[in-house]
């Protein structure tokens, strides 16, 4: 059968029988397969492919997708359809089946304005650019996430998954940019400096009042943007005229009043009294929504937190500034704020002054000042009194360093954790924020383990030192060079002789040190799963001791982390030695204290350690995994193909960051799957763990020669 002959209804049914598990689910696919059979082969493949992919996540979602999809194919761009399907799966991952089914059912809402054509701006595609864009604009460091509409809570800007109001791709991108800019402008030009909810209580129809207020604010912010970012303003005008949006005469006059640079959100509230009795204009295309509850919740917490934090920081600055030690204990004098002289920055730049002397605040304090200024318009006097000792509960303020042990216990919550995606090979896409990861400490055990290991392997250690020293001394001298630091006497003598014999004299008369200055950072990722219990664990610890002892002679930077976990919600990395931590007694005690824990989920560990390694400046970066076996996790599908594919994907990501991954394993069956994950040359299977440091030396040589 030719590859482009459409599948028959029977063939389709057979296919669906498998992926929708009809034997158990009894889903009715009769009509669907009929409908599908009249479509082109290419369309069939597209729809069946996605149905299969969704089915690996949830069969019901896949079925609902398939019921709607053939019809949608005519009026929906494929890219948008894919986004829709992925969005449903993400939602399933995050909040469950009910919400995901809602998304599949409300496909029209998802498409927004039914223009979901090829020109759409898809959130995942534009996020990177727009996030950089807002960070470039002044103000608080905002976050950007996908949401059900364009709105902000004053810290995170939300954009819908798809923006497709306009027929042209560039215009849709401009529209998404304009939305982001308007939301940024709300945080930047003081929309939240008035208590919106409270102000609206005065009106019988609060909802109507809110929408009017939002439209008035939009006028005011447009004027701000026109002043500060005229190029962007021109773009925004272009969008409005492309969509045929104009102001009515009454609203044009409002716009004029609000164009005054001194106008505030308060002026909008005053104008609202007039506007309330008139009709509501169509919202501007980039206006988005205004959600006072979301804002209030976020702001209340922030204002309180930042006040405390700022006063604590001032206390630190004050004690840094006082040179006389006694003075530090005296009751703190308040700081002053002065407006710095002539600045082009649109936000008045403030100077912090103590005892008439300007204090240069560090970056974090400067950012705090900006954030406070944005919330309150200025920095109130009571903020300028340094916090007294014990005035604030440190727990309330400090970057949350919660003891992971406590977090895992009792009601589970995800505060202070890192989130990592995981590759779902069935879906051929990532599961977002799938793994909840924490760094933990290995409990150090101060005992004789390291000393004993060194004694036990004294011979091997000597050999290893030699091997590694040889690596180090690869800074050898090159003779007979055209340039160099020393004269090569042998060469000189020879060439003088040549010259006196009438032959041409060589100019390669120098010795040059071939300085291959070492510039390596190595990350060791050590399997701490339960299966290492027993001799493997001992052997791992011994070889880590040998490794550290020898790596110290090279002077290279290296770090050691152990990994383990139970399910995606509890992924753990154990710090044994951080990159620039010296190899000291604590590190030795941690090595001794390595104990087998739970399971072998690997993707998150590779992703997190790659990220750490990426932040290190080195010419060569190595990620070496020591493991006893294949990826595996408790009671979910990380076992088997899924885990292998996710690990492989994480390794591909690492390589993209310029990291060289290697795996050293003692799983004799590893040859089945390691080449697939690491590539044929990047793994090695050993039968005796003390050989491990020798292998590491080999890897080093290969990479640094």
């Amino acid at each position: 059968m030719a590859a482009d002959t459409p599948l028959t209804a029977e063939q389709i049914e057979h296919d669906l029988d498998v992926c929708l598990e009809l034997e158990f689910t009894f889903l009715n696919i009769g009509g669907i397969s009929q409908l599908l059979s009249v479509q082109s082969r290419e369309e069939q493949e597209f729809l069946l492919g996605w149905t299969r992919r969704i089915a690996t996540t949830n069969i019901q979602i896949a079925y609902q997708f398939l019921r709607r999809a053939p019809d949608l194919l005519k009026r929906m761009d494929r890219r948008v359809m894919e986004t829709w399907a992925l969005h449903a799966m993400d939602t399933y991952d995050r909040v469950g089946l009910h919400a995901a089914m809602q998304i599949i059912r409300d496909v029209n809402q998802f498409m927004q304005h039914k223009h979901a054509h090829a020109a759409a701006a898809v959130f995942d595609d534009v996020r990177g650019i727009l996030l950089n864009f807002v960070h470039g604009l002044s103000g608080r460091a905002l976050k950007l996430e996908q949401g059900d509409a364009a709105y902000t809570d004053s810290e995170t800007l939300y954009l819908p998954a798809v923006i497709a109001q306009l027929p042209d791709a560039n215009d849709n991108f401009s529209l998404s940019k304009a939305m982001v800019a308007m939301l940024w402008a709300q945080t930047r030009y003081g929309t939240f400096q008035v208590d919106i909810s409270q102000a609206l209580h005065a009106y019988p129809d609060e909802h109507h009042a809110l929408q009017l207020f939002h439209s008035l604010e939009t006028l005011r912010l447009e004027a701000c943007i026109q002043r500060e970012l005229p190029g962007l303003f021109r773009d925004m005008q272009g969008l409005k005229s492309a969509l045929g949006q104009t102001n009515t005469p009454v609203w044009s006059s409002y716009a004029e009043q609000l164009a005054n640079p001194e106008s505030t959100a308060g002026d909008c509230l005053r104008l609202l009294e007039k506007a309330y009795h008139g009709p509501l204009p169509d919202p501007t295309c980039y206006q988005g929504e205004l959600r006072p509850e979301a804002i209030a919740a976020c702001m209340t917490a922030r204002v309180e937190r930042e006040k405390a934090l700022f006063r604590i920081k001032l206390a630190q600055l004050a004690s840094d500034a006082s040179r006389i030690p006694d003075e530090a204990n005296a009751s703190p004098r308040p700081f002053e704020i002065r407006e710095a002289l002539a600045s082009l920055a649109s936000l008045p730049s403030l100077e912090l002054v103590l005892d008439d002397i300007p204090v240069t605040p560090p970056d974090d304090v400067r950012q705090l000042m900006t954030s406070i200024q944005l919330d309150l318009g200025n920095i109130p006097d009571e903020y300028l009194v340094p916090a007294g000792p014990g005035e604030y509960d440190a727990m309330l303020i400090e970057e949350k360093t919660i003891d992971p042990n406590e977090v895992w216990q009792g009601t589970y919550h995800e505060e202070g954790a890192f989130f990592y995606p995981e590759w779902d090979f069935g879906r051929q896409h990532y599961r977002k924020n799938w793994c909840v990861m924490r760094e933990r400490e290995v409990t150090p055990v101060y005992d004789e383990f390291v000393t004993q290991t060194k004694q036990k392997h004294a011979g091997l250690l000597k050999l290893l030192r030699k091997t590694f020293e040889a690596l180090r001394d690869e800074n050898r001298m090159l003779k007979r060079q055209a340039q160099g630091d020393e004269i090569d006497i042998d060469a000189l003598v020879e060439s003088l002789a040549d010259a006196s014999d009438g032959r041409e004299m060589s100019d390669r008369l120098f010795i040059r040190a071939h300085r291959n200055e070492r510039n390596i950072a190595v990350m060791f990722m050590v399997d701490m799963s339960g299966s290492t219990r027993g001799w493997i664990n001992d052997a791992e610890r011994e070889s880590l001791v040998l490794l550290c002892e020898t790596l110290e002679t090279l002077g290279d930077r290296y770090a050691i982390y152990g990994f383990s976990g139970t399910t995606r919600k509890r992924c753990e990395l154990y710090r044994i030695k951080q990159m620039d931590e010296p190899y000291n007694d604590t590190v030795r005690a941690r090595i001794s204290g390595i104990r087998p824990q739970d399971y072998t989920r690997m993707g998150f560990a590779i992703r997190h350690l790659s990220k750490l390694l990426h932040g290190v400046e080195a010419r060569t970066k190595l990620l070496i995994t020591l493991s006893d076996g294949r990826p595996d996790d408790y009671n979910d599908n990380y076992r088997g193909r899924y885990g292998i594919e996710d690990t492989r994907q994480a390794l591909i990501e690492a390589k993209r960051l310029g990291i060289h991954p290697f795996c050293i394993t003692i799983d004799q069956e590893a040859r089945e799957y390691l080449p697939h994950m690491y590539g044929a040359v990047n793994y090695t299977v050993i039968d005796e763990v003390p050989k491990l440091p020798l292998k590491v030396a080999g890897i080093y040589r290969r990479l640094t020669m």
Binding site: I129, N132, H135, L137, L344, L492, L496, E517
Partner: protein
């Protein structure tokens, strides 16, 4: 074939020898330099007291210009060496060369400055190999001598000699950090991008663009500097603004000039380039 059994090595005088030439000159005309604090007075005082100077600051913020200005003011020649990771102590101090069967010693730029009482400016000192520090340390404390290991001699510095080095603390990296034992020998001057008003004046002056354009260029620079740490290693320097200004002054559209002279120069990342592009087109 007979081989001579001894080779005569002769050390000739240094002044007329040629080596890889660093930029060496007396600065004849007053360089345009906008001072943003008391750096001129501090440098002068350090010079009078024979103290070496460390200029800290990001790339393109006016350190080289400042050195040129000080050289002019103090009427000393300025020898600048840009350090790189192949630069060795011999490159600074000097080495033997073989010429027509004779071995000739040639002073490196540092030795020449030390002898002739020039200002020697070692740009981006942390980039150089670690062995260079060995020769810098004795020069940078009150011994003021340059060890010339190959000659087995110690060269005493001329009274007018001055050592200045520069260092960019922004590239925080453990490998390339300046050691305490080095930095604690120097009087340190901290350079930052000039404040907005001053930077606008510099850009207008150096490139010839009108004040409003210069002002927009500064705003754009601040946007890129906001991005430092969240995707950009470094924001646009004063130097890049001057470049963009010059393009604009020759008739290139501002958005294009910002792209070519600034955006492409500070990043290769696609999303970042596009974002920066959007930022500049927002302004103009």
């Amino acid at each position: 074939m007979t081989k001579p059994n001894a080779v005569a090595i002769e050390i000739t005088s240094t002044m007329n020898s040629q080596s890889v030439a660093p930029e060496e000159y007396f600065v004849e005309e007053e360089p345009y330099y906008e001072s943003s604090g008391d750096e001129i007075a501090v440098f002068e005082a350090a010079y009078r007291n024979k103290l070496p100077v460390l200029l800290k600051g990001p790339t393109g913020c006016g350190k080289t210009r400042f050195m040129e200005f000080m050289a002019w003011r103090l009427k000393r020649p300025l020898i600048t060496v840009s350090c790189h990771d192949d630069l060795t102590a011999s490159d600074l101090v000097g080495r033997f060369l073989v010429k027509g069967g004779e071995t000739v010693w040639v002073d490196g730029p540092l030795a020449r400055s030390v002898r002739s009482g020039a200002i020697c400016y070692l740009d981006e000192i942390v980039e150089a190999r670690k062995d260079t520090m060995v020769v810098i340390h004795p020069l940078a404390d009150d011994r003021r001598v340059l060890p010339m290991e190959k000659l087995g001699a110690l060269l005493e510095a001329d009274d007018d000699f001055c050592l200045a080095i520069s260092y960019n603390p922004g590239y925080q990296s453990v490998l390339k950090d300046l050691k305490q034992s080095t930095r604690q020998r120097f009087v340190a001057l901290n350079f930052e991008y000039p404040h907005a008003e001053l930077e606008r004046r510099i850009v207008a002056n150096e490139s010839g663009v009108a004040a409003p354009i210069a002002e927009n260029l500064i705003k754009f620079a601040h946007m890129t500097r906001n991005l430092k740490g969240s995707g950009l290693e470094e924001g646009a320097s004063t130097r890049l603004l001057v470049h963009a200004g010059k393009l604009i002054a020759s008739g290139i559209a501002p958005v294009t000039a910002c792209r070519s002279a600034i955006a492409q120069a500070i990043t290769d990342d696609d999303d970042m380039l596009k974002a920066i592009q959007e930022l500049s087109s927002s302004l103009f």
